[in-house]
């Protein structure tokens, strides 16, 4: 069940209403609210109250900055005021999108890894992670997945304890997801992943890896 809210002038009423309700909401917000709070600030407040809610901004062509909206509050989409002909189809598109996303979210709760950068969270499912690597800069760790390569400030040993046993610390600088290993070259001490990327394995950890692979397979 998703509640739909439309706000074009009174932001405080919407906030009060959301505070009382506990369901996920779909919010259509005008960027320019003509009050003390503008659409972006309202969106940020809503995001805090309803982290899984869907936000759609209503804006004009000249004020459109979708990448910025998306980054700051994870906006789902935008609707242009100056294209009234497309209004209906755009709204329909948003509702359809929301429905799809909401049901799929409820259906599969995968184990996932969350990277927090300030107030942003980037979520990667364990099954998509290939490996973690300490970058050439010792303060940063890089998460490798098939479609993403993201740096963040962390230490491998802190990450290791959060994960489950499919992850193996095969090297001082690498933490690998065994499920995504394609092949291991014992002589050269190189692990090749499903997508072709490689990571190193120390001779000390080699035995341990082979043992844990035979157990799980």
């Amino acid at each position: 069940m998703i509640n739909v809210y439309i706000c074009e002038d009174n932001p405080h009423r919407i906030l009060d209403s959301v505070k009382q309700n506990d369901t996920v909401g779909l919010y259509f917000l005008d960027i320019d609210l003509k009050t003390d709070m503008n659409g972006m600030v309202l969106a940020r407040e809503l995001r805090k109250l309803d982290p899984r809610g869907f936000i759609v901004f209503i804006t004009s062509h000249s004020e459109l900055s979708f990448v910025t909206f998306n980054f700051k509050v994870e906006a789902l989409d935008y609707i242009l005021k100056d294209e009234p002909g497309k209004l209906q189809s755009k709204i329909r598109e948003c509702i359809f999108n929301v429905n799809e996303k909401h049901t799929s979210f409820n259906n599969k709760i995968q184990k996932n890894f969350v990277i927090k950068i300030k107030d942003r969270s980037i979520v990667v499912d364990y099954q998509d992670i290939l490996f973690f690597e300490t970058s050439s800069n010792i303060h940063k760790v890089i998460l490798h997945s098939k479609e993403r390569k993201i740096e963040f400030i962390a230490k491998l040993k802190d990450i290791e304890v959060q994960l489950d046993n499919r992850f193996y610390r095969c090297h001082r600088s690498y933490l690998v997801n065994k499920d995504n290993i394609k092949e291991i070259d014992s002589a050269a001490h190189i692990i090749t992943m499903n997508n072709g990327s490689t990571c190193l394995i120390s001779s000390r950890m080699m035995k341990g890896l082979k043992a844990s692979l035979t157990v799980s397979r």
Partner: protein
């Protein structure tokens, strides 16, 4: 508060291997001279004299190597500054031409208003309608056609970065790439060396342009924003859908454009690794590729 070794010192340090080899060769000749000299029958004075000559040679050649290196660095810096200046001048002329378009429109506006006022005075609605659709409405389209939001760069407060970005975006626009620029608030680069940042952004934009060009409807998006006290820059482009290995593209001499290229991303990563407070997120979904660079306040 820029966390980086002085680039000047680190560049001169690159001369060290060369000086080391020079020293090694001199020492070898030195030793050779002493050992063989005695055999061949040189007097001790001659051997000492020769050794002194070699030491002198070593000192002179080291001074030469260091001087040449320094001169090279200065030249590279001058070339870079000149490029930056050229970019800024191009940016200025673009802005100037936009301004003159605006001025001539302001001028036409008065005439348009007068002509419409005439029709209204005479209550000539059909005449007004005809005049509007034939003469006035098309003007609006003409005005916005060449416009691609270049003025949004006004929020970048550093001229180095602004000139680089404008040069790349103007180039992209000329290639008929559809450009989206979002810089909704003033952005000040404080926690990173501006030259380093310009180099990295230059590489990302070049790559984005080259990849987008291969598509039927190329698009490129450039965004800068403040996120609390950090700065985020997002560059995305579309590309012909295929598998990309995010590790492969960062390797040296890997380029879809043939051999002898492909240093860009490697260099960009090298620069990023010098900073503890700069993080890069590279990802792609469907057919959109995104580089997201965040400069954290240290």
């Amino acid at each position: 508060m820029i966390k980086k070794k002085s680039s000047f010192i680190s560049h001169t340090a690159e001369a060290l291997p060369l000086i080391g080899i020079n020293l090694l060769i001199c020492v070898i000749i030195f030793v050779f001279n002493v050992v063989m000299g005695q055999r061949v029958g040189y007097t001790p004075q001659i051997i000492i004299f020769n050794c002194a000559l070699f030491v002198l040679y070593f000192i002179i050649s080291t001074i030469m190597i260091v001087s040449i290196f320094k001169a090279y660095i200065v030249k590279a810096e001058t070339t870079r500054k000149q490029e930056s200046l050229d970019n800024l001048m191009e940016y200025t002329s673009q802005i100037e031409s936009m301004y003159s378009d605006l001025r001539s429109f302001k001028h036409d506006y008065t005439n348009i208003m007068l002509s419409m006022a005439e029709c209204i005075n005479e209550r000539d609605l059909t005449g007004l309608e005809k005049h509007f659709s034939e003469n006035i409405f098309p003007l609006g389209k003409e005005l916005t056609q060449g416009d691609f939001q270049l003025n949004r760069l006004i929020n970048i407060h550093s001229p180095e970065l602004k000139s680089l970005v404008s040069a790349k975006l103007i180039y992209a626009h000329e290639l008929s790439i559809d450009i989206n620029v979002e810089i909704t608030e003033p952005v000040e680069i404080v926690f990173m060396d501006i030259i380093d940042l310009s180099r990295i952004i230059g590489v990302f934009l070049d790559n984005a342009i080259e990849a987008a060009r291969e598509t039927l409807n190329p698009t490129l998006s450039f965004t800068m924003l403040n996120n609390h006290d950090s700065i985020v820059m997002i560059i995305s482009n579309n590309f012909i859908t295929k598998e990309i290995n995010l590790d492969e593209i960062n390797k040296l001499s890997v380029s879809s454009k043939g051999s002898g290229r492909g240093i860009g991303l490697f260099n960009a990563h090298k620069i990023i690794s010098h900073y503890d407070n700069v993080i890069l997120d590279t990802h792609y979904k469907d057919n959109v590729f995104t580089q997201n660079l965040e400069i954290l306040a240290s």
